[in-house]
């Protein structure tokens, strides 16, 4: 598989075309809007957190296939998770993305989202994959 095919795996293109969780959320308990100023990509991510658990997640936005697929995979991954666990996933995700291809996401923990492994070799694209995760971080904190 070429690096480009590794970056744009079919699963990523599919998620970008038919994203999960891309819906406005009724009565969110917190929300974060993030913009990537270099390309104008935006994501608004909303959470409904009850008793320390993410009961519902929804997001809206537009951007490249990497940021859209990342948001979609994130939404499937953290829905119904305790906030503490989502936080630890976020840290692992960030570490892998910043590793320049050295550290891979753990399949047992990340499932389909390991398709994003190819991104970490493309330093300029890491912020695309991170955009919805940064929104998650702010939403969980606020």
């Amino acid at each position: 598989m070429s690096d480009l095919d590794g970056l744009y795996q079919q699963l990523i293109l599919d998620h970008a075309k038919n994203p999960h969780g891309r819906v406005p959320l009724d009565s969110p308990t917190s929300q974060s809007h993030q913009v990537n100023p270099t390309c104008g990509d935006e994501v608004t991510l909303s959470l409904r957190v009850e008793n320390g658990v993410i009961e519902a997640i929804g997001w809206e936005g537009h951007g490249c296939s990497i940021s859209q697929a990342s948001a979609s995979l994130l939404a499937t991954l953290v829905d119904t998770l305790p906030v503490a666990e989502a936080e630890s996933l976020l840290e692992e995700f960030r570490t892998a993305m910043r590793s320049r291809g050295q550290i891979e996401l753990d399949e047992d923990r990340f499932g389909d989202a390991i398709a994003l492994n190819g991104v970490s070799k493309y330093v300029a694209r890491v912020k695309c994959a991170m955009l919805p995760w940064v929104a998650l971080e702010h939403a969980m904190a606020g």
């Binding site: 070429s2 690096d3 480009l4 970056l7 744009y8 293109l13 075309k17 270099t38 390309c39 104008g40 990509d41 537009h62 951007g63 490249c64 296939s65 990497i66 493309y122 694209r125 695309c128």
Partner: protein, 418 residues
């Protein structure tokens, strides 16, 4: 001299740009991002290096031999650049780039003492266009905020052409600022008409010549603008050097923006008096090597001949526009039939510009993706980001063909080709 650049001419030009023979991602580099910054020929690099090797010293400050040589060379560079843009040397102020040039004028205007003829007051208006680069927009927004003046703009139509019928140029207009060539559309704007309308109401004109100076013969006196800015790094020179042109009379009416050494006559503990323009606007140790390297870049372009450079650009533009328009699902920005330089922005339906750029990069093709520092224009055209290909004197027809083929292939790769 032939009126056009032949394939052999371009091949000879390319030999002066070693970076063009390098590879990226295992593919020969196809550099189509000259609108962001151009590559630099050896003569420019050698000029800068030779200066540091044999003549380096500060200008306008020392009595020793090297200082005198450096000062002479620095001022000769100013004369050469002045001739290149159709101005005289005392109208050329060195800046670090075009952005600094626009800010310099905007701040000098607001530094004027109250009651000065050129000072802006509430009720006055500044007019820009909807297609400006942020560098020729935000300094005017800020000037409006500082002075209480109002910022208005000339809108663009659905194709991105300036709608001059709706240009809000009135008796209240004090400044009209616009680009000679749009960095997104590559289209040459109607300078003569805008200058005539601005001057008819007594407004000053600021021309952003960033994207015209590298591609078209420029005669600022003939264009009759009051101020103009350009960036050296977009016209084969290094980063860190730009030019502000101002009519001599106007420059001498404006107070300084930055103050300090090298721009004064007499200084006491309480006050200082200032040198005339251009030195009044050149505070601090100057960018000597960059200025003489810009003069070397001007020599290089003049050696090719700006008429031939312009013809090469309009040929590139036709190849880009025709080629991109022929690809299904590709929307090329800018009005049909307009005069253009070799630069085109486009959107591929169903593929984000970032993904198009990534696909092209994999083939060694360097393009710009995003809003190209023109968010309002993109918003007006219903887009958030586009892909931009921009050539220069070293760009070949074969490179543009290779690029067009890659754009077409990106549709199959991302599954949007029918």
């Amino acid at each position: 001299m032939q009126p056009t650049l032949t394939e052999a001419d371009v091949a000879m030009i390319r030999a002066d740009f070693p970076i063009l023979s390098t590879e990226v991602n295992g593919r020969p580099l196809v550099y189509l991002d000259s609108g962001a910054t151009s590559q630099k020929p050896l003569s420019v690099l050698d000029t800068e290096r030779d200066f540091y090797l044999s003549r380096n010293s500060a200008v306008h400050r020392g009595a020793h031999t090297l200082a005198a040589l450096a000062t002479e060379e620095f001022e000769e560079a100013r004369e050469k650049v002045a001739r290149f843009v159709g101005a005289s040397a005392d109208e050329i102020v060195w800046t670090s780039n075009a952005t600094e040039g626009v800010n310099l004028v905007a701040y000098a205007l607001s530094n004027l003492p109250a009651g000065s003829e050129l000072a802006l007051v509430p009720g006055d208006e500044i007019v820009v266009t909807e297609l400006e680069h942020h560098a020729n927009l935000i300094p005017w927004q800020q000037l409006a905020q500082r002075t209480g003046a109002t910022l208005r703009f000339i809108p663009v139509d659905d194709e991105g052409a300036l709608d001059l019928e709706r240009a809000p140029i009135t008796d209240r207009t004090r400044v009209v600022a616009f680009s000679h060539v749009s960095n997104v559309l590559g289209v040459v704007n109607p300078v003569a008409e805008l200058v005539a309308r601005a001057h008819a109401v007594g407004a000053l004109v600021m021309l952003d010549a960033c994207q015209s100076a590298p591609h078209l013969p420029l005669d600022l006196h003939a264009l009759d603008v009051d101020f103009a800015v350009l960036s050296g790094h977009k016209m084969l020179a290094p980063t860190g050097i730009g030019v502000l042109y101002g009519r001599n009379r106007l420059l001498n009416e404006l107070p300084p923006f930055l103050t300090g050494g090298s721009m004064i006559t007499t200084v006491t503990m309480e006050s200082a008096s200032f040198l005339p323009a251009p030195q009044r606007f050149e505070a601090g140790t100057q960018r000597v090597s960059q200025a003489i390297a810009l003069a070397a870049a001007v020599d290089y372009l003049t050696g090719i001949g700006m008429e031939r450079v312009a013809e090469h650009g309009s040929r590139m533009s036709r190849q880009l526009i025709d080629g991109l328009s022929a690809i299904d699902g590709v929307r090329v920005l800018g009005a049909r039939g307009a005069q253009r330089v070799g630069l085109a922005s486009f959107a591929v339906e169903g593929i984000h510009a970032h993904d198009v750029g990534q696909f092209l990069d994999d083939r060694g093709i360097a393009v710009r993706v995003g809003h190209h520092c023109a968010q309002p224009l993109h918003r007006r055209l219903g887009l958030t980001s586009t892909t931009r290909a921009s050539g220069s004197v070293y760009t070949t027809e074969a490179e543009i063909d290779f690029f067009l083929e890659a754009v077409a292939d990106s549709r199959a790769f991302f599954g949007v080709a029918s």
